[in-house]
């Protein structure tokens, strides 16, 4: 990034902790790590608005890991809750009952269930009203909190509770992951970005960049989920790195509709290296390998990066399909 940034290396990560230890997320959860890093980048004055999901359980009365504010809403309505807080803060400041220094950054945090499915409409409304807020979606590609049921973020050929591998459906999920980045961009949000916890500097810089932009600032974090995806929690960051290196999870941002990839892998690692790390794709390798399904995934990744190359004159060498 050309603009000045506080974040040059990972060592620049702010040292203040706003999420106390002792939360109840699974060991190795990428979702809570995303919230921790996001909060560090934003600083202390934050009001979180959360819709049902794994993160909801992290605050379980009477114990809370959050040192900041938290409003819990129904599944569909976190952005509406954010509107209420934003308006209240603005009114109080206009009346002189709140100092500018006491203002809060309003951040919606939900999983993909709320972002891609159940809260999609209220997010569209908030974007249309040009609400000045942040949206952090920790995307673990299914409804993790209730036992890993499919959402519209669940990728092709992933198994889940509701897309199990059967004789009729040997690859599990037949649907394709919704492109939420493009959907949000199409709604004219001024800033949309993807994040991966494994690329911490890129993550911190994007949050920093959003701070300079008024209006909806929307982030999708690729949140490794050891419990739902089926891998040893110690590999959480490695799995995310592989998703980026294989090109499965592109790191990019859109400023006023103009898309730029913030990291382009020089040569894509074959997707199979990523898929084989997780039980949810176990059926693609056991009892026998399913090359057609793996090739389908590889082709869609290659097509994506070919388009990026054409549009942004950057080049990622495709991996063999």
């Amino acid at each position: 990034m050309s603009t000045a940034t506080k974040f040059k290396t990972l060592k620049d990560i702010p040292k203040e902790e706003y999420i106390a230890p002792g939360n109840t997320m699974c060991a190795g959860c990428g979702g809570i790590l995303a919230v921790r890093i996001f909060h560090k980048a934003l600083g202390p004055n934050v009001a979180w608005v959360n819709a049902a999901g794994c993160m909801t359980i992290s605050v379980s009365y009477p114990l809370s890991p959050l040192k900041s504010n938290w409003l819990y809403t129904a599944f569909a309505s976190a952005p509406a809750g954010a509107q209420g807080i934003r308006d209240a803060l603005d009114v109080l400041m206009a009346k002189g009952k709140l100092q500018k220094s006491e203002d809060l950054k309003v951040v919606v945090v939900t999983g993909d269930g709320a972002a891609y499915d159940i809260g999609f409409q209220s997010t569209a409304g908030a974007i249309q009203r040009d609400l000045d807020f942040y949206y952090l979606c920790y995307d673990n590609e299914a409804y993790g909190n209730t036992g890993f049921q499919m959402s519209s973020s669940t990728p092709y050929a992933s198994s889940s509770k509701t897309t199990p591998v059967t004789a009729a459906y040997p690859y599990g999920n037949t649907g394709r992951k919704k492109d939420l980045f493009e959907a949000w961009r199409a709604m004219k949000a001024p800033y949309v970005a993807t994040l991966s916890n494994s690329h911490g500097v890129d993550f911190l810089r994007k949050v920093e960049k959003g701070e300079g932009i008024r209006g909806p600032k929307l982030y999708i974090d690729f949140a490794a989920c050891p419990t739902g995806w089926g891998f040893d929690p110690k590999y959480s960051i490695e799995v995310e790195k592989l998703a980026v290196q294989t090109g499965v999870w592109p790191l990019k941002e859109s400023v006023d509709g103009v898309v730029r990839h913030t990291y382009v892998p020089r040569a894509l690692t074959p997707v199979r290296e990523y898929l084989r790390t997780q039980e949810r794709y176990g059926h693609l390798f056991k009892p026998v390998e399913k090359p057609e399904a793996i090739a389908t995934i590889q082709r869609s990744v290659n097509d994506y990066w070919a388009k990026v190359a054409a549009e942004e004159s950057t080049q990622a060498t495709p991996a063999p399909a």
Binding site: L10, K11, I13, K15, E17, Y18, I19, A20, P21, G22, N23, T24, M25, C26, A27, G28, C29, G30, I32, L33, R36, I37, C54, I57, S58, Y61, P62, L63, S64, P65, L66, K67, S68, N145, T146, G147, N197, G200, P226, T227, D232, P233, K234, Y235, S236, I237, E238
Partner: protein, 295 residues
Amino acid sequence: MILRVRFHGRGGQGAKTASRILGNAAFNDGYNAQDFPIYGAERRGAPVTAFTRFSESEITERGFIFSPDVVAVMDDSLTADPTASPFAGLRKGGLAIVNTAKPAAEVNGGRTDIAVLTLDLTRRALDTLGKAVLSSGIAAAVARASGITSEAFMRGLVEELKEVGLSDDAISKNVALATAIYDVVSPIKLHTEELPARADLVPLAVVVSGEGTEDVVNTGNSASRHTGNWRITKPVIDYLKCTDCMICYAYCPESAMSAGPDGRIAIDYDNCKGCMICQTECPLRAIGSQMEGLQ
């Protein structure tokens, strides 16, 4: 007479399935029965609670069991875990069945007014099933102790295991395990009394609100949960190799690492869950691992 059983396990050990097996077994034996888990997040390693009630007459009680006659504790680390508190409300004269290799006196939660039965179910499950799934074993122990017949129990066991989708081979291994445990336990006649109301609740800073629950005001108070007891392996920093690069710090999902004024990284073992991300990510391999419980 009504018997109230509360199961305490960790996510993945099978507490909910155990409560269902026992419910089925009691029903097959002619009792009225209820079984249900606490609805909550399914976190691997986090405390899980499930309940079974059964009675010769109609059961009019509903909801969580706060004063059980029997508690079944599937992991002895839970006996010292304040978020599980398996002995809370256990009636005077009640029975605790604890999965442990330790002597009863070490796992009775300081209670001398109850009976404690210890069984090393984990070892038996590992020997028979090859993994530490304890539902069949603990259900067998409770069923036998409470006098449910073998025939009713085995039928209930198989019904439930079929329902959760186990293969025939896995079911027969579970039956073998359950039979072995059923045979080493004896029926126990319980005469229990409810405890007086508790006076040992943890004080929290609260604002009493006009309606609903009190507002807790000490935010970030979760550190007192001590998720360190979820840990199976423990990360240990070798300070001779560590260069304070902060990479492990950045990636710790638990905020369980901190940098001192001298920049040295330290681990908060009270709450580190042992995910071992720090070990994987350390570029200098300066973090080793130790099995918990071993020195």
